[in-house]
Amino acid sequence: MIRIAAVGDLHYGAGSQDILRPSLEHLPDRADLLLLAGDLTRCGGPEEVQVLADQIRGLPIPVVTVLGNHDYQSDREDEVRRVLERAGVTVLEGDAVALDVDDVRVGIAGTKGFGGGFRGAHGSDFGEPEMKAFIGHTKMLSDGLERALATLDADLRIALLHYSPIEATLEGERLEIYPFLGSYLMAEAVDNAGADLVLHGHAHHGTEKGRTPAGIPVRNVAQPVIRHAYNVYALDARRQVLPAAAEGIS
């Protein structure tokens, strides 16, 4: 079993800088990897993420993250990324990393993702330039996710997102804001390429568990949803779920 610790939406900033720290001491005993599903900061300040970077630097397990919308707020996302990378964190956006954990090759493909809505009610890149840019951004990132997943040579494959790929893990949020919380295009990308687990954050009032239309497990690990410093998911590499095998799983 490979144990994946995951959390999103830590929102490090003044007054909320110790969400993870008290639990880090025991983390290496409980998990093989730590995955962060974006929104590491409150306002996208490098000084905000520096606190988190200092806390996780030196952890004896790999740490992989994507950025979230808050991490872009100050237009300093490149600096945020560099602070994390200097602390040994792998930051993904449209790419992937493969890690060897106890003879199991674990592949993680990541993207922030974006919004647009869900099947039957998704925005179109039609009309004003702003609308084309909005949906075009989601399409570009979803295409990148599919490519990154498809090229991963790994025993287990995980899609790490910030925005949600499915509606089920948004349950609890107001319906009116679903288009700002995720897009089915990311679920389609995952179902096309195949994966064993999808992790996302962003939807603070959502629900933890769901599945893509092809049956791939999805977990909303936004910290206000899981109400822990992180959750741990155990994956069996011998039971890898591929898109065809997942058809019909409810």
Binding site: S16, H204, A229, V232
Partner: protein, 84 residues
């Protein structure tokens, strides 16, 4: 820009709380009834809960601030979930 009508005041306050770097929280609920402001939703820490009250008081001086936001637990998980 003119002062917001009462009908729109909660949304203006919510927007200001999102853009105030001391709060920057997108999921707060704001209701205003007469001179009382009710704040709901989740916050990460007790300190942020307190800061939210202070910022709301700055935004609406003279209003009573009723901060009903919940501080979310960040304890270690009890176990692990087998996923398949």
């Amino acid at each position: 820009m003119s002062e917001p009508r009462a009908d729109y005041l909660p949304e203006h306050i919510r927007e200001k709380l999102i853009h105030d770097p001391r709060v920057a929280e997108q999921d707060l609920k704001v209701e205003v009834k007469e001179h009382r402001v009710m704040l709901g939703g989740n916050v990460a820490t007790p300190q942020l809960h307190q800061t939210l009250t202070e910022v709301a008081s700055e935004l609406l001086p003279g209003y009573e601030i009723v901060n009903e936001t919940t501080v979310v637990s960040s304890a270690e998980p009890d176990g692990e979930e087998p996923v398949s």
